[in-house]
Symmetry: none
Subunit: 245 residues, 4 copies
DNA sequence: GATGAATGAGGATTCATTCAT
DNA sequence: CATGAATGAATCCTCATTCAT
């Protein structure tokens, strides 16, 4: 409490700024913590660093979070806001093909999640899942499950409308999720350790993934024989395929 | 070489056992360390735990590895053996369609890497990449780059033989890699925190991924419009696509 | 500067005490460390002991000194304050014979250094010199060299004024230094392990050393005034000795 | 036990060499230990280093010495052999002035002790005295006391023969001891950390010390013969000095 | 005897957490 | 509320000592 409090005029402003900052404190701490947890992992991040990056002292951090672990949980909770409700609605009323929906889904996910700091949570959860079973379960139920349901609904819509031919719907969702998870991992892990210019370009990456996912790799758009397996009937396959090509 | 070694009976065996153990030590420690690093991360793993799991005392670990960090590096180095040379050769002489090659590639990768402990290295590297820039660079050059080149060659073969139609070859490789990385992450992270029965079935997962990758999602095997983007001309797209369908 | 500081009563005092303690910490730690390093050597001294003797916990020590080694360096640095500047001046203006100067020099050295904790540094440096080459060089240049120069100047003065006859000036300085070093060693090492009563009496020791140094051992010489002391009974002594001469 | 044992001829030699070495073991270990203890102090010396320098394994060291502490004691004991009996006798029958005796005493001490590894013991004891009270007492009684008695006897002789005028005999001995201790300290501590060329020249140092001790610094005295040396012209000197007295 | 692999108590250092100010 | 000095449990690492070979 400074003397300035007694000085009229300026006082209010300062007071106001201070309170604004005060309310912003937890948020600033969560931001700083997210950055550092993502960058170095939970264990390797020191609370003092978090506090310093948030511009407060170590003690202040513990004013807002009971422990480092609670801070971690708060970071996760804070960044997995139920955007799915909003998205669900958006997709419920989507006009257009299911292919467009998928493309739109991934594009919008990148813009609103993947490209933002929130994407760090994915990396964080993957790195620390085993150390925080409780928060992992929470994440599973708040993020993974809704996400899968959302994608599943898109795929179902495609199938119902005759746009998609999907053999194994339960696992097809991973064809959408896997590329996104990979992109996030690339951004926050190995990809971040690669020289400038060699890093993944997100838009191009997403475009490629969507194209292949939607279009397939085969030129003869006759679907690949999904029952084809490699061995032991390799020869047979070779013949059959050879014939087809 | 002592005379006692020539004396028949128990001596020889015990001697042998001791020497075998001595030679086995580093391997046992590396195994234990891999397990724990993958499970809990580098920082959260205590060297004493590693030693205990390997059945030795703390001090013994430091007999073989100068520090915890050296242990980490050794774990990574040990598990990224250049299997690629062997694989390259295998694929050089592969008889069959490129579709088969891809399917075979992923199947064999799962059997020989994904399903084994070695797959933990991927999770480990992704979690700790930023904390170990040196070993990350090593991993990049010893694992990631060769892996990408291998897959790229398969895709090129497919294109050359007229089997594949690939728009963006540089990024198409990620359509093969991403599913594998995702599978490993699932196995070692979130997926491991899920109740039995809900976990990913690797074979089915791979089958689905390959099918979709190869066959595409669209029933009309006319490729998706690769130039299609979502915004800002959303409406236009909707119309155009709507027309097509 | 908080308002609470302006509130009279206990607050202020306590605050003050805390701050005073905080500022005193490093000094208290250095004192404790000097004691223990001198007593047991660097390696055999545990930081926890140092902290305990300073009345703080282990962790607190590391708040002020990065490592045990830094603590050692700080201990040395702290205790070799450039008293030589002050002394040089004192001797520059010294009135009296060069014999008196020498006697005064050694007496004053004992009072201001030898008898104080600072003398432990000599023992410490001699014990640990080889383990701390860097700080040893520092000590050489900050203590030994200036000390030798100071003594050399006294001897030169004596020679110039025709009081001293010195054959080998470079080595004559050691006739002054050696007794002081020996005294310190005695105090802090073997001498400290001897039963009460057998220990060296510093004043008597210095008197003897000075007498012999000044007067020589041979009878065919007018003895130096062996009872001459600097103060306060200088006159009385002079008379007694004068009688003898 | 190697196979070579079964080969005739060479066997004996090898066996012989082995046994010779075997008996030399403890000595080699003591030598190595002395070196290292003197160089780094007791605590900072690792037994493994000692063993390595002696060319044996760590385990072997413990075959000969129960513990590191026992090794220390043995090192001290080994190097303080009662040379005093021999010296006492030598001095009992000394022909010549007491001044010569003193000069001879210091010269011979340097040759037989100061210049050899044994001098390291002094440094060692001074550094570690407080940590080894038991062995310190032993050292006091085996080395310091006899040494002081020896020197005292020389001084007494000088006084009795009217050669020396000594006011405080008890402390006069330190005028002989201090320079020697200082020389040893210089050799093994700070002096060893000084650039080549700046180091103390022992002979010159001793000459200076003896000259000053004998002759005094004051001009109003017949100088001690500064050219006096002990050998080879010992007899000549004896005569000359004898004449003077 | 000799070896050196193994041990584990001991010590330096870190860092989450507390609390007086 | 905010601070940051203080704490001490936790952890990495060392090294004297043991013991099976």
């Amino acid at each position: 409490m400074s003397l300035s409090k007694l000085i009229p005029g300026k006082t209010e402003e300062v007071q106001a700024k201070r309170e604004r900052r005060k309310e912003a404190r937890p948020g600033e701490l969560l931001d700083a913590a997210l950055d550092l947890f993502v960058e170095k992992g939970f264990a390797a991040t020191r609370v003092e660093e978090v506090a310093a990056r948030a511009g407060v002292s170590k003690g202040t951090l513990f004013l807002y979070f009971q422990s480092k672990e609670e801070l971690f949980k708060a970071v996760v909770r804070e960044n997995i806001s139920g955007r799915f409700a909003e998205w669900n609605e958006e997709f419920e009323t989507f006009q257009g093909t299911s292919a467009e929906m998928l493309r739109y889904c991934m594009t919008v996910w990148w813009e609103r999640v993947g490209a933002t700091k929130a994407s760090g949570i994915t990396k964080l959860m993957i790195s620390e899942a085993k150390n925080f079973p409780e928060i992992t379960a929470f994440y599973q139920q708040e993020v993974i499950d809704p996400g899968q349901r959302l994608i599943r609904r898109i795929l179902e819509r495609g199938v119902e409308r005759g746009e998609f031919r999907i053999v194994d719907l339960d696992y097809a969702v991973y064809s959408v999720i896997a590329p996104m998870v990979f992109l996030v991992m690339s951004k926050h892990s190995l990809g971040a350790c690669v020289p400038q210019g060699k890093a993944l370009l997100p838009e191009r990456y997403i475009a490629s993934q969507v194209d292949i996912m939607l279009g397939g790799l085969l030129t003869n758009t006759t679907p690949a024989d999904p029952t084809a397996t490699i061995s032991p009937d390799n020869a047979a396959n070779n013949k059959k395929n050879g014939a087809r090509n």
